[in-house]
């Protein structure tokens, strides 16, 4: 209690002490090498080899996020697995993890590391940190090493998003990080329906938002679980409001609202989706549903994990969420084998097509500390990752192995430098997966081998493949919705993935204001007019300035 008083201030201040120490010797470091200029060894290399092995092992100190519940094959760990061994044996790079922590606290911890000046050689940062570090000239310039060392296949994958990721990873015309690109289409929201409840209550697949609302009402009042108690709800929400589980995003999309992202308005200017009039209509609808008892009154204190428990306890049969939701329904399937789910696309509240929101392609970056002697090592590791995961020499048994029980391990996601396929390639992989499963022909596959095998198992009556089939099967699955939405361009991507000056200073305040206001409106604590007050306040507290900055940065990028 006594020491608690100053704890936070002390933590921050203490890190200042370290900063002072760090700063005292840091400035000398580059000057020592300035004659040789960091990285010049690489640049002057007449014959850059993307997969060349260092003669003398190079030690790389690194920091990256990992989850404590990740599983590895017997004897392996996050610090010692196929990737770290591969780096060492094939590239001559020895990776030493200075620290790692779960994704939820990684960037806060990285903030402390940045403040204390105690940076590893290679580490992952978010947009705000990239900007901060680049402005302070703390990052190695990767422009040349990327040009020289990136393998053609690497370039193909990284630039598969039209160069958005590389642009986001640049600062002042220099490439200062490697984007951790991925398939944003994975984030597309969809509607998940419990088909055994639908059948029981004789309900049809929804064509419009009105149908969805009718289903929600039926699930609340029709006693779909047949226990004679009114203990089910129409629509789940988590206390974070947005995310992959029980999210409001897909619901809002049905009203053409795009919360938590930057979209173009009628005049082509970027605006923040949460403050647009469509969001007001969405909240009005949610408040009405709450009044009718369709929404769990306790949603405000429940996180995704608690809501998952509710799914398992058959509280909900309708939800807006991501393609992987069935993976969280496995316990329900085990407990209640008659239960089943299917995915349908989000539907519109009017005659315009509903578009699902997806994120910005690159929001995280792998960067190299300025002064590190081998900046090209990070490009080599990226080459290595993409070749072993997706390239001609890929070997799933080494880099995506199962454990002794036949369950997938987390080796595939434990590489230090990662960047995955962009949407276009992923969609074609998903189409091949669906075809392979339909024809039971493994040779069609271009990826997703573990998913394929689980689905074949399910076809043979093994329930352990149920979740994979609902996620990735040829019909009514999460992946099938992704393919449909991508082919018909029924999605809206976040326009802006960076950070502006005012954003880094004000965002948590604005985000708090948004979630507090929205939660209160839904709960009926505040009238819907609170939305207009929120927009006014949001603009006054920095939102207006941020919007200007976002538009400024976007137009600068187009030039």
């Amino acid at each position: 209690m006594k020491t608690g008083k100053l704890t936070l201030a002390i933590v921050i201040m203490l890190s200042m002490v370290l900063t002072a120490c760090g700063n005292n010797d840091k400035p000398q470091e580059p000057s020592k090498e300035s004659g040789g200029n960091a990285g010049s060894a690489a640049v002057s290399d007449p014959n850059p080899e993307p997969f060349g092995k260092y003669e003398k092992t190079v030690e790389v100190h690194a920091a990256v996020a990992s989850e404590p519940n990740w599983k590895f094959p017997e004897g392996d760990s996050f610090e010692n697995n196929a990737w770290t061994r591969g780096y060492e044996q094939e590239l001559g790079i020895k990776v030493v993890y200075d620290w790692t922590t779960n994704e939820g606290s990684y960037f806060n911890k990285m903030n402390v590391a940045i403040t204390s000046g105690d940076l590893p050689d290679v580490f992952v940062v978010n947009g705000a940190q990239l900007r901060l570090l680049a402005e302070a000239d703390q990052l190695a310039d990767l422009t040349e090493v990327y040009e020289k060392y990136a393998a053609p296949f690497t370039k193909e994958l990284i630039e598969g998003d039209g160069g958005l990721g590389l642009k986001a990873a640049s600062h002042g015309g220099k490439l200062v990080g490697l984007p951790k690109s991925g398939s944003t289409i994975y984030e597309l929201p969809m509607v998940w329906l419990r088909t055994d409840w639908m059948k029981k209550l004789n309900l049809q697949e929804p064509k419009t938002m009105q149908d969805v609302l009718a289903i929600a009402e039926a699930f609340k009042n029709g006693d779909p679980d047949g226990n004679g108690k009114p203990d089910t709800f129409g629509l789940p929400i988590t206390k974070d409001l947005y995310g992959g589980m029980a999210s409001l995003t897909g619901f809002a999309n049905s009203y053409h609202a795009y919360p938590q992202m930057w979209v173009k308005d009628k005049d082509g200017k970027a605006v923040y989706g949460s403050t647009q009039p469509e969001m007001k209509a969405t909240l009005q609808q949610l408040a009405d549903m709450y009044k009718k008892g369709l929404i769990d009154p306790e949603f405000g204190v429940k996180d995704a994990e608690k809501v998952t428990d509710d799914f398992v306890n058959s509280k909900f049969g309708l939800t807006f969420g991501a393609n992987w939701n069935p993976l969280n329904f496995i316990d329900l399937k085990t407990k209640n084998p008659d239960s089943d789910w299917k995915a349908v696309p989000i539907v519109s509240s009017d005659d315009q097509t509903a578009l699902g929101s997806i994120g910005f392609p690159a929001t995280q970056f792998t960067v190299v500390r300025k002064g590190f002697e081998h900046p090209e090592a990070v490009v080599k590791m990226l080459n290595f990752y993409q070749e072993k995961r997706y390239g001609k020499t890929k070997d799933e048994s080494v880099y995506n192995p199962n454990d002794a029980k036949g369950n997938q391990t987390h080796v595939y996601t434990s590489a230090l430098v990662k960047s995955d396929k962009a949407n276009e390639m992923t969609i074609s992989d998903l189409k091949n997966l669906a075809e392979a499963v339909t024809k039971q022909d493994k040779s069609i596959l271009t990826d997703y081998i573990p998913e394929y095998e689980k689905m074949i198992k399910f076809k043979d009556g093994d329930l352990s493949g149920w979740a994979s089939t609902r996620q990735g099967g040829p019909e009514d699955s999460g992946f099938s919705i992704l393919i449909k939405a991508y082919d018909s361009s029924s999605y809206v991507a976040n326009l802006f993935g960076g950070q502006t000056e005012t954003m880094s200073a004000k965002w948590s305040t604005l985000d708090k204001l948004e979630k507090e206001t929205f939660t209160k409106i839904i709960l009926g604590y505040s009238d819907i007019s609170a939305f207009d007050e929120f927009v006014e306040k949001w603009n006054a507290l920095g939102g207006k300035k941020i919007t200007e900055e976002v538009n400024r940065d976007l137009s600068a990028q187009q030039e």
Partner: protein, 303 residues
């Protein structure tokens, strides 16, 4: 002569002073040296320019901090919650110590003492999850009881009218065992002869408590009160952070959670430090005042 006395005292007592050294070193390293870092409250601090390279901005950060939206509401929440915690944290253990003192069976007394001390060792991360379940309006134990008694269930963690009291109640429940032990220790220090004399004079249990036990406890009560007054701006970060949610920001957002968001999420170290400094200065003032009061009112001195 005086000189000699002092020297021989030093010779006798130096091992005791030596035992203090590690503690002093820790206090210097972890409490005094970091104080130097407070300078960043007066700067526009960026980590790479360091303490002395960052631009000086005078009181701008303080001005900015006190113009943050909701700042006054947050300060009000902080003071209200922490004052209630101080009061409850002071009187509940006294009452409990007095009651426990009346129990003659050593085994029962010790068991209760241990049981009430146990929650002190649980972290708020764990308790947060448990409390959300226990206090749930639909399935929680507490509300099952309330419903069984025929009342409407209460959403303790989602209702602004209840949330601050739940914070005080749960914090007191978690921490009162520790203070109880401190008071029990004070009780053993009271001379039994006083009680014997009181019994001869015809004093009953209540009179004994009022005239002997309580006066005997006064110094330690004053000490505990003095120490806790320093917490007047300290509403307990761990607890609030693990229990609050957007719907109770209005009544539950406190200075520490604001500092966390500003400092660790937005990386505005200068603003966070400015707020932290304000907290420390106010706490320091309160401790000084209460120490002076303790000296004047109870003739109590720490040094």
């Amino acid at each position: 002569m005086v000189q000699q006395q002092a020297t021989s005292r030093w010779k006798r007592q130096w091992p005791l002073y030596a035992m203090l050294v590690p503690a002093i070193i820790c206090v210097v390293i972890y409490s005094y040296i970091p104080l130097v870092g407070s300078v960043i409250a007066f700067q526009d601090f960026t980590p790479f320019k360091g303490w002395f390279g960052s631009d000086w901005v005078g009181l701008d950060q303080f001005r900015y901090a006190f113009e943050l939206p909701d700042i006054w509401k947050i300060i009000r929440n902080t003071v209200v919650i922490s004052l209630m915690k101080i009061v409850a944290g002071l009187f509940v253990p006294i009452l409990f110590a007095l009651l426990l003192n009346e129990i003659n069976k050593m085994f029962v007394k010790r068991s209760i003492q241990t049981l009430i001390y146990l929650p002190h060792f649980l972290s708020w991360v764990i308790l947060g999850g448990i409390l959300i379940d226990i206090l749930s309006p639909s399935e929680g134990m507490v509300n099952q009881l309330i419903k069984w008694l025929g009342f409407e269930p209460v959403f303790f963690l989602g209702d602004n009218r209840w949330f601050p009291y739940i914070l005080v109640l749960t914090d007191t429940w978690k921490e009162f065992g520790f203070s109880t032990i401190v008071y029990l220790a004070a009780l053993t220090g009271i001379n039994p002869a006083l009680y014997e004399a009181a019994v001869i004079d015809g004093a009953g249990r209540i009179k004994q408590t009022w005239h002997i036990t309580l006066p005997g406890m006064i110094p330690i009560i004053v000490l505990m009160a003095t120490l806790s007054l320093g917490n007047v701006l300290n509403a307990g970060f761990d607890q609030v952070f693990n229990l609050y949610s957007p719907q109770v920001y209005e009544s539950g957002d406190v200075l520490d959670t604001l500092i966390y968001r500003v400092g660790l999420e937005d990386m505005q170290y200068s603003v966070a430090t400015a707020l932290g400094l304000v907290k420390s200065v106010v706490s320091f003032a309160f401790i000084s005042i209460s120490y002076w009061l303790a000296y004047r009112l109870a003739n109590y001195r720490i040094f």
